[in-house]
């Protein structure tokens, strides 16, 4: 990493890094309580149980070929993903830069799938 300018006593204007350092440190300790983490984990376990039960619940009741089965599962999957990233990975409390970095990678991954699917189906 490049060296940044050292703030000195004669330089009252702190660089952006220092100001942001304050923010990130405040954020670092703005993490949720253990009780909330446990509640989140219980919630995730319940969502997982719902996911597993869904095909059995809908079996015979609905025409489960395709979207009726798939869409609720994908929605629950997305909810679980966001909850883990936001709370367990602390994205909710950390700098927005990290959120952008992570979700950019995810977006590219979706792009990879779309490109591969396009290649298979079109070409």
């Amino acid at each position: 990493m490049t060296d940044t300018a050292s703030p000195t006593a004669s330089d009252p204007s702190a660089p952006a890094a220092v100001a942001m350092h304050h923010d990130t440190h405040d954020d670092d300790h703005g993490h949720a309580s253990d009780t909330l983490y446990i509640q989140i984990a219980i919630g995730l376990a319940v969502l997982t149980a719902m996911e597993v039960a869904w095909p059995y619940v809908t079996d015979g009741l609905l025409d489960t070929d395709g979207p009726i089965l798939m869409i609720p599962l994908l929605i629950v999957m997305a909810i679980k993903f966001v909850i883990i990233a936001a709370f367990f990975m602390h994205l909710k409390f950390d700098s927005k830069v990290l959120t952008r970095v992570f979700y950019s990678g995810l977006l590219l991954a979706v792009g990879v799938y779309v490109a591969a699917l396009g290649t298979f189906r079109i070409f």
Binding site: M1, D3, T4, A5, S6, P7, T8, A9, S10, P12, A14, P15, A16, A17, V18, M20, H21, D23, T24, H25, D28, H29, H31, Y37, I38, I40, A41, L44, A45, T48, E51, V52, L69, M70, L73, L74, M77, K80, F81, I84, A85, F87, F88, M89, S95, V97, L98, V101, F102, S104, G105, L106, L108, A109, V110, V112, Y113, A116, L117, F120
Partner: protein, 228 residues
Amino acid sequence: MTDLSLSKGDADAAALEQASEARAAHGAGVAYADGEDHDHTLTNTGISNPKLAMWVFLGSECLLFGGLISTFLLYKRNNLAGGPTPQELYDIELTSISSFVLLMSSLTMVLAVSAIQRGEHQRLRLWLVTTAILGAVFISGQVYEFQVFVKEGMGFTTNSASSAFFALTGFHGVHVTLGIVMLLSAVMMSLRGRIPQARAEAVEIVGLYWHFVDVVWVLIFTIVYLIP
């Protein structure tokens, strides 16, 4: 965390000397005139180098798993070479238990991070070891699943679907195994007193990797196992 406010006013030779010592200790980044030993160097984003590097790495890992999941989705019904497809052999009950175990390991990991942030070293080690055990249980389930599949006649090279399945879940398994190694390394470092409260971020970075492994399994479990 210590107060990071910069000293204002006239230059003080002693303060400047302290600042340069702090800078030397960091090797890079911002040196603070208070001379405090801050536990990490900063990028110009205000985020420490190791943490930002881990997030960039995880962003790139999304691409790796994106490629593997895409490949599986495109080949999951392809058994032109013969043999069963993975869908015919899944044991959803076993995989559900494995998923639950991995989900709970994320909880124990986040509790480990909380413990070190409070300076509770015994609890840190307890939660890290618990996380490693839960990870090992998950891997055991995967090894069992793989050997059942092989017994049923679906090996890595049986057909395109099986190759895609084993590549995806195998890569994830390797990631979990590396995570366990990282966790046990953190336990050893903690026992040697090399993870003081001021370096809690080191545990948080291991935690980020572990949660990522968990979050990828959330995708795999739904996309690969639950959606027919």
